[in-house]
């Protein structure tokens, strides 16, 4: 996994609430057996018209957000199905960071496993960021994971919270499975005890 330390990039505004994983990546794209290549299909029904051409009104199709790597959006982002295809698609589209007032649980977890940083901020700060991203699309937003700050030039700076373990995994680009296998002795002890305690398992 690619480590996440600092990101300085364009932020795209997507002011919708309850964006579910069906919106992020519709089911017809779940037949893939790979993790990559989903970017062109992300937000498919919003992004393309019925005839398959890009919908010029959809914000992520606007040229000013073409290179955006930060997505600012509404509450309960990533709700619905557990498909990890959602963060894969977002990542493949170029986003490394999503900022929202709240996230659905599984999506939030899935993001970290793919080197995407999901940031939760109070609604008022989201409103401010959203407005900024809409009014000054070219201005860059800087995210510093080590310091846990989001800044936009000298306009503002917000702090954000993040779980310590997840932060260190992202910073180091660490593989969860390797970390867990270091505790193999604990797992073995647990399994041995299980045989006595719950023989029906």
């Amino acid at each position: 996994m690619k480590p996440f330390t600092k990101l300085t990039a364009i932020a795209a505004p997507l002011p919708m609430v309850n964006i579910d994983t069906d919106i992020i990546i519709p089911k017809q794209f779940l037949k893939t057996i790979k993790r990559t290549g989903l970017g062109v299909s992300a937000f498919y029904n919003l992004r393309y018209s019925d005839d398959g051409t890009p919908n010029p009104d959809f914000v992520l199709n606007k040229p000013e957000y073409k290179d955006a790597e930060i997505l600012i959006t509404g509450e309960n982002f990533g709700c619905g199905s557990s498909r990890e295809h959602a963060p894969w698609a977002i990542l493949d589209m170029g986003f490394r960071c999503v900022i929202a007032p709240s996230f659905a649980n599984i999506f939030y977890n899935n993001s970290f496993k793919n080197g995407i940083l999901p940031i939760t901020l109070p609604q008022e700060q989201i409103d401010e960021l959203m407005k900024e991203a809409q009014n000054n699309p070219d201005a860059l937003t800087e995210i510093d994971l080590e310091k846990q700050t989001i800044t936009r030039g000298n306009k503002f700076s917000f702090d954000f919270d993040i779980d310590h373990f997840r932060k260190s995994c992202l910073l180091g680009g660490l593989d969860d499975i390797d970390l867990t296998l270091e505790k193999d002795a604990h797992i073995k002890t647990y399994e041995d005890k299980l045989k006595d305690d719950k023989p029906w398992l």
Partner: protein, 472 residues
């Protein structure tokens, strides 16, 4: 010892290791696998040279992407789409290579992953159960801690039989009193989501309690736990009791003779202790629940069937008002229309929410001796598993349904998500027993109204949304 909740007991019992920062490594007792969210996980194992740690605790099935029409034993096996075939073959190959038991397309036990687990006795009280699918919450009906995970976590569980987790908050939803006649677990689930909202459960594990929950069958309990995810919760659960034990006893993978008493003794220690506390408590009066349908494109947009389509101005929150406008436009509905005046085009009965035998019996009861309305283009019944299908055929239910004009299909997820050819066309309106009414969920431009099996059956007969209590 301090009084503990059902969730806390299961959690404590599964901690393998606690890190300095409070992050826990949790042991996973059961892992269910299906074709859509697993290929990348197996590929990950292959690339790192890892194996599946506990093959006997892992069970795979194909369900999301399978045809529900006849499955001839040809090379194509009735799967018309090349990419679907590739995904299904990938699961077969992965299971045989890694030694995981698979219920394939020709296995009588094949069906929706959340139906077959309980059916086989693979799902038991007190367990931690995961699957790369959000509706894993279904298994919580047995008093298990069951939740959906992403593909990276699927790989993690395959390789280590554990997951890295941080503790959840707890919520108890108590449904007091008894449900009225013709009001079902599905109505209860929709009503609850309407009350607490689609994000109301975010970060929580919900325990359902109270007389109305206790009185539900296992099928009904699975329906409410299934839809916990639609309220944003990590999981839903119901404490195990005699109803639970009676359901499990004798199932193929359930504890056998010598171990049965030991298991039951343990299961009886699981219900929350008197005096245990929750981070949040919600009380619902069962008598306030009536047959309920959704009118919008999130599962919280529900209304009693006796109501009318709401107007955006009925909502105080400006964000919600805006989204209601968008939803009504998508759903093609005009504020003020009586819900019972809304005609429908298709009916879908099935899914892990309502694809069990009890659901099919409820449908048969309504449609027996009747015919589906002329304006109904398609009325699908997709049993949740091969065993449900066989039982319905044996009980004569299948015949009743077929005579009424329903299309009797092979088991799978089908039009719940429309990954296979079972889909809505743009603009088509469906009375559906599934769990999600998101835009495009059942087919691009399709319009979904969620409801109970009995309500969907009533709609099939009259051709419009109908109060099942008015059906003779």
């Amino acid at each position: 010892m301090r009084p503990r909740t059902l969730f806390e007991k299961i959690w404590d019992d599964h901690i393998v290791h606690t890190g300095d920062d409070g992050t826990c490594l949790i042991y996973i007792d059961r892992h269910l696998v299906h074709e859509v969210t697993s290929p990348q996980a197996f590929e990950g194992l292959r690339m790192t040279g890892r194996t599946v740690r506990r093959t006997e605790n892992t069970l795979a099935v194909m369900d999301h992407n399978v045809p529900t029409t006849s499955r001839a034993e040809t090379k194509e096996r009735g799967i018309m789409q090349e990419d679907s075939r590739v995904q299904i073959s990938a699961l077969e190959k992965n299971c045989s290579e890694f030694g995981v038991q698979l219920f394939d397309l020709f296995d009588k036990r094949q069906g929706i992953v959340h139906i077959i687990g309980p059916e086989q006795g693979f799902t038991l009280p007190g367990m931690t159960i995961v699957c790369g699918d959000s509706h894993t919450s279904t298994h919580g009906a047995f008093g298990a801690l069951a939740f959906g995970i992403g593909t990276s976590e699927v790989e993690h569980v395959l390789a280590t039989q554990t997951l890295i987790q941080s503790p959840a908050k707890s919520m108890r939803i108590t449904v007091n009193g008894a449900l009225s006649t013709s009001v079902t677990a599905k109505d209860m689930a929709l009503h609850i989501i309407g009350e607490i909202g689609t994000a109301g459960g975010t970060g929580y594990v919900i325990e359902y309690a109270g007389e109305a929950v206790r009185n539900l069958s296992m099928e009904g309990r699975m329906t409410i736990c299934n839809m916990s995810i639609e309220a944003g919760a990590r999981a839903g659960m119901v404490a195990p009791d005699e109803t639970t034990f009676a359901y499990i006893k004798g199932r193929p993978m359930a504890p056998q003779e010598g171990n049965w008493d030991k298991a039951v003794a343990y299961w009886k220690t699981l219900p929350s202790d008197d005096g245990s506390t929750y981070d949040k408590e919600v009380a619902i009066e069962a008598s306030n629940i009536v047959p309920t349908v959704t009118w919008g494109t999130t599962p919280e947009d529900v209304a009693p069937i006796t109501a009318q389509v709401p107007a955006p101005t009925d909502f105080d929150d400006p964000n919600k008002r805006q989204s209601v406008e968008r939803m009504l436009d998508y759903m093609g509905l005009t504020p003020g229309t009586k819900l019972t005046d809304i005609p429908i085009d298709k009916v879908f009965i099935g899914s892990c929410t309502n694809g069990r035998i009890e659901d099919l019996r409820a449908v048969a009861k309504i449609v027996e001796g009747k015919k589906i309305a002329d304006n109904i283009l398609e009325a699908l019944i997709v049993p949740g598993s091969g065993l449900v299908k066989a039982q319905a055929e044996e009980e004569g239910i299948a015949e009743v349904l077929i005579n009424a004009g329903f299309d009797w299909r092979e088991p799978g997820c089908s039009m719940c998500l429309g990954m296979n050819p079972d889909q809505l066309e743009p603009g088509e309106r469906c009375a559906s027993t599934s769990n999600r009414n998101f835009e495009g969920r059942q087919g691009r431009g399709g319009r979904t109204h969620l409801m109970s099996p009995a309500m969907a059956a009533a709609a099939a007969i009259t051709g419009r949304l109908t109060d099942v209590r008015n059906m003779a």
